[in-house]
């Protein structure tokens, strides 16, 4: 393919991946399906009954891979067997995936909250009614965007993997990225806003999540509002980077042109890793200087 057209397709893929990352993280924030869910699950056991949607269908990578695979299978059947236009088929495929995800979400929260009856945790039916459509909407967005990424890769950039398999793979990666980045904003900051800013969660505070909102009791949508300001978009940037940079190095130096180009693309990838590493080190240095240590150096005091 012409390098310029490849670059255009790549830009579209990057944009779709960014939306996929952001919506994936926000979906997990509304339903608290993430590592931060461990605290939501723990809270009633520690005596903190809450009104936060508690679903963890599976680990985020597995759950997203399931959604994307269901959506892609549906879409592919519609395209190949019924002759639907791809865009229309992808929308219907995502809708099917969102509905399946919604039903899993309801069974997950019902099961989880019912199992905590002994800790006096109620099942709020209005919470399920108000949150499940939001979860489904984000699931729809994630599935659709991941399918757009995979579709463009398979049919425009000529990636050899079958469409459904590629959707499954990107589903695992988007879950993995979302779980590793955006969830930190929910788990370490939003759930523990009552504790001092600028510290990790003290183990003794485990389960003591914030349960009161600006008005009334805090729910998953309050968490979504907060995380959509930083954690969600950052997850989008992260997944966008993973998809874009990983493909960009193969477009700039196309291995089809020879082994030299293949090696150059690998070297370019290594340069990206090193540059991001230097940036990481720079942030480490900057935060150490700005935030300062938590404890005094007792050893130096004694010697002084």
């Amino acid at each position: 393919m012409e390098p310029l057209i490849s670059m255009g397709v790549l830009a579209l893929i990057g944009a779709a991946a960014t939306i996929a990352g952001a919506s994936e993280d926000l979906e997990s924030d509304v339903g608290s399906q993430s590592n931060a869910n461990s605290q939501v699950q723990l809270a009633p056991q520690m005596g903190y009954v809450h009104r936060i949607y508690n679903k963890a269908i599976a680990g985020e990578p597995v759950s997203n891979a399931l959604m994307c695979t269901i959506g892609a299978t549906g879409a592919l059947v519609l395209i190949k067997h019924f002759g639907f236009s791809p865009l229309f088929a992808l929308v219907i495929g995502s809708l099917i995936a969102a509905m399946v995800h919604g039903s899993y979400s309801v069974t997950a929260i019902m099961g989880r909250e019912a199992s905590q009856a002994r800790f006096k945790q109620p099942i709020y039916l209005d919470l399920i009614r108000s949150h499940t459509p939001v979860i489904m909407a984000f699931a729809f967005l994630t599935t659709f965007s991941v399918m757009i990424v995979s579709y463009l890769m398979v049919y425009s950039l000529m990636h050899p993997f079958p469409f459904v398999l590629l959707c499954f793979l990107w589903g695992v990666v988007v879950g993995s990225v979302g779980s590793a980045t955006g969830d930190v904003h929910l788990g370490a900051e939003r759930q523990f806003q009552a504790t001092e800013f600028g510290a990790g969660l003290n183990a003794s505070q485990s389960g003591n999540i914030v349960r009161k909102a600006e008005s009334g009791l805090r729910n998953g949508i309050d968490n979504l509002w907060f995380c959509s300001k930083f954690g969600g978009p950052m997850t989008g940037v992260s997944f966008g980077m993973v998809v874009f940079l990983g493909t960009w190095i193969l477009v700039v130096f196309d291995p089809a042109e020879g082994n030299l180009e293949g090696w150059l693309s690998n070297i370019l990838g290594l340069v990206i890793v090193i540059v991001l590493g230097i940036w990481n080190w720079h942030i480490e240095k900057e935060t150490r200087e700005k935030y300062g240590p938590y404890k005094e150096d007792k050893g130096e005091e004694v010697s002084a």
Binding site: S34, N35, A36, S38, G59, P61, V62, M158, H159, P160, F161, L165, L166, L169, W170, V173, G175, S176, S179, A180, T181, G182, D183, V184, G187, A188, E189, G198, A199, G200, L201, N202, Q205, S206, G231, M234, S238, L245, G246, L250, P255, A256, N259, W263, S265, G269, L270, I272, V273, L276, G277, N280, W281, E284, R288, Y291, P293, Y294, E296, D297
Partner: protein, 246 residues
Amino acid sequence: MIDIVGLIASNLIWILAIVIGGTLISISVHFIPVGGAPAAMAQATGIGTGTVMLAAGAGIAGIIAAGAVMAVNQNIWVVIGAAAVGAAVMLAATMIVATWIYAYGVGVMPVSAKVKYDPITKYRQDLYVSQGTEGHGIPTVAYVSASIGGLLGGLGAGLAYYALMKVSTLPVTNLNLVAVVSTFTIGFFFINSVIPSYNIVGTIEGFHDPKFKKWPKAAIASFLASIPLGILAVVAVASLASVGGL
């Protein structure tokens, strides 16, 4: 009747490549700083997700890159290099964004709780660990360790993918062959990243963590597990190809 012994004998070199790939994946997982659920609460150093999921996410990014390259260039070093770099780029992009969130969203600096001084930057660590936590964020040593882990894991996955693609004489763009081989490689990656998680038990910070010393046990276990897996995969792919199933 398919001559299974003959298939194994003629593909011994590829079985060996798969076994080496599995062992590399197993070793690589020890390098990746996995913080698990505690890291999501800034309660432990590392990337805030589970061992297998993170390693698999990186390995899969590597397999996607290897697949794209293998379709157009069959030089073994270019293919496995692309897999290694694909996995490392995935981890790098995840780690830098996680660092932004730790630094600007949570307000903590990257710090390790397992060593007093970072072996690479020589920064003092223990004073910067907030109370009641086992460190937080991704300090430079963990970043370097994760990059090595990504490269090794991708290398292993790429090697297994390449070896299985070469078992049959079918063209590398055959969709059925690609589907079977990539599915096997992913399963293979999952198996070999589950084995080391018994060493890691939740969290590890990288090569400076005391748990890292246990890697030979997992490497041996993965080596042994990869032998029957490699034989099964080679026999399955080669016999499917020979009877026209692909």
